[in-house]
């Protein structure tokens, strides 16, 4: 083969390899859920009301994994959005309300049964203040809302799995579905992109329960995008 021919083969292979690399990177970066912006919803310095819900199955209306467990967030316009990337202002009180529609189990580590990093290290469960929930009792803990780098963790107590009105897929609503309402508040730190996650290995069908929705942004983990 001539020099020109060999050069063409090498260049061709290089272009194919580069194409695969670009395709892989773009494919990894593109499917990010939308960012839900809470920074302009209220006057500067005013508390942000952040309402989310956890559902056992996201259902057919939200993408390619209808059986996956997931969070949804209510945007400032009051619509339920399938996203776990939330933009909030820095050094601001966040009033978090979680509508927990999923059932629970004992925690793999009961450490996450303790409310940590919130104002007063306390939350309310259906109006009753608690600071520690023993996940080995009652309906256990379905999920946690945890921002590990900020030391924040809140156990989301599970609903009765035997209830006849347990929500099967999102978006869920009460009182038609059994729900636990968890409320707590925390103050955001300085600007940054803080990953948040669930400490309950709730990825059914995946090794250790930590694959699938536990390892995909948009389901059981995301980012708290704290803006100045």
């Amino acid at each position: 083969m001539s020099f020109g021919g060999r050069l063409s083969v090498v260049l061709g292979l290089f272009i194919v390899a580069a194409g695969f690399a670009v395709w892989g990177v773009v494919g990894f970066l593109l499917p990010q859920p939308p960012t839900v912006d809470f920074t302009s919803a209220q006057p500067a310095g005013a508390p942000v009301n952040l309402t989310v819900q956890t559902v056992g199955s996201i259902g057919n209306g939200y993408g390619n994994h209808p059986t996956w467990v997931s969070y949804l967030v209510k945007n400032p316009q009051g619509q339920w959005i399938h996203s776990t990337i939330w933009k909030v202002p820095a050094h601001t009180r966040i009033n978090l309300t979680v509508e927990q529609f999923d059932s629970g189990s004992p925690l793999r580590n009961q450490q996450w049964g303790r409310v940590q990093g919130t104002i007063g290290n306390v939350m309310t469960l259906n109006g009753k203040p608690i600071s520690v929930y023993n996940s080995n009792t009652g309906n256990g803990v379905g999920h946690t809302f945890s921002i590990p780098t900020l030391g924040i963790s809140v156990p989301l107590v599970g609903v009765n799995p035997n209830a006849n009105n347990i929500c099967s897929q999102a978006p869920c609503s009460s009182p038609s579905s059994v729900v636990n309402i968890i409320r707590t508040s925390f103050v955001t730190s300085g600007p940054g992109n803080y990953p948040w996650q669930c400490f309950v290995p709730c990825g059914l069908g995946f090794l250790f329960g930590n694959g699938g929705p536990m390892s995909t942004v948009g389901y059981m983990g995301g980012f708290l995008d704290v803006e100045a």
């Binding site: 629970g104 793999r108 580590n109 009961q110 250790f208 930590n210």
Partner: protein, 297 residues
């Protein structure tokens, strides 16, 4: 040849001490613990030995380029002739020197491992090298996707997200995992030990200064591996005792719900009876079922 050797010897004699005294004290991981001091010393020794070897190569290269360049008059033909033959002295010298260095460092490394009680590395569940200190504070490191937590068995077994250590104290880190393999890397402490499920990996060090510590997971462990870090601190013994007792008291309500302290936690043990896994969960199964705790038989 002797001109080359002279240049190499002068450079080595000058640069080695310069490195040791000017750069050496700043070589990672610093001197916060006995393991850190030991590792810093080890890195410096390795560099002191490596630098003359590096200089030998560079001096030979530079000498060849300058003195034996083709445009220089009187330079013999590089291929063929007597100049192309091997030099027995150089060959023997190179082999002997390399052998002495490698075997010497082998012995040095073993001695350093023994005298520093493992040099900050995980020694497994039955360490053969242990500190000589009469009292050793045990601290359990529990890795889980994706956070390290710490249990203090001598303070009621409370568990905390914070790593706080007393100064001037021998510490035994008992590193384990509740799920996949992680790696506990406390950089300034010069502690690095794999966190394996069902295994108590023990690493020792003795704190020498107060200050902050960066802890990172050093084993690719999933989506939030990059966020699996936290900052700890080494404080005075008095401050540590105050913190430990206050934390023990503040977390008492949760500590009673934790499984009893153990060096490992059996994955399929009963949630409230001594393990970290729910009754109805097989962590090695691909079809885990979560739900209410089944009634115990």
């Amino acid at each position: 040849m002797w001109r080359m050797v002279a240049i190499w010897a002068i450079l080595s004699v000058v640069l080695d001490p310069l490195f040791y005294f000017l750069v050496g004290p700043h070589i990672p991981p610093g001197d916060m613990t006995s393991a850190a001091v030991s590792n810093q010393f080890d890195f410096n020794v390795l560099f002191l030995i490596a630098l003359p070897v590096l200089l030998a190569v560079w001096v030979y290269l530079a000498y060849s380029i300058i003195m034996w360049r083709a445009s220089r008059k009187g330079v013999p033909e590089p291929v063929g002739g007597t100049e192309a033959r091997g030099h027995l002295g150089v060959q023997v010298g190179w082999i002997v020197t390399s052998t002495v260095i490698v075997l010497g460092l082998f012995v040095f490394g073993i001695v350093e491992l023994i005298t520093t009680a493992g040099s900050g590395g995980g020694e497994g569940p039955n360490p053969i090298w242990t500190p000589t200190s009469a009292t050793i504070l045990p601290v359990q490191v529990i890795a889980q996707q994706w956070k390290f937590t710490y249990r203090y068995p001598t303070f009621g077994g409370f568990e905390s997200q914070q790593l706080v250590l007393p100064n001037d104290t021998a510490i035994a880190f008992h590193v384990t995992s509740l799920d996949v393999i992680h790696d506990f890397w406390a950089y300034q402490l010069s502690i690095k030990a794999d966190a394996n499920p069902q295994l108590d990996n023990v690493a020792y060090t003795t704190t020498r200064q107060t200050g902050s510590v960066t802890v990172r997971c050093d084993e690719l462990c999933g989506l939030w591996h990059g966020a699996m870090f936290n900052y700890g601190k080494v404080v005075s013994k008095t401050a540590f005792n105050i913190w430990a007792k206050a934390t023990e008291k503040a977390t008492a309500a949760n500590t009673k719900d934790l499984p009893p302290f153990a060096y490992t936690y059996v994955p399929d043990a009963n949630g409230s009876d001594g393990g970290y896994y729910p009754d109805n969960v097989d962590p090695y199964s691909h079809s885990e079922v979560y739900g209410a705790t089944p009634a115990k038989s």
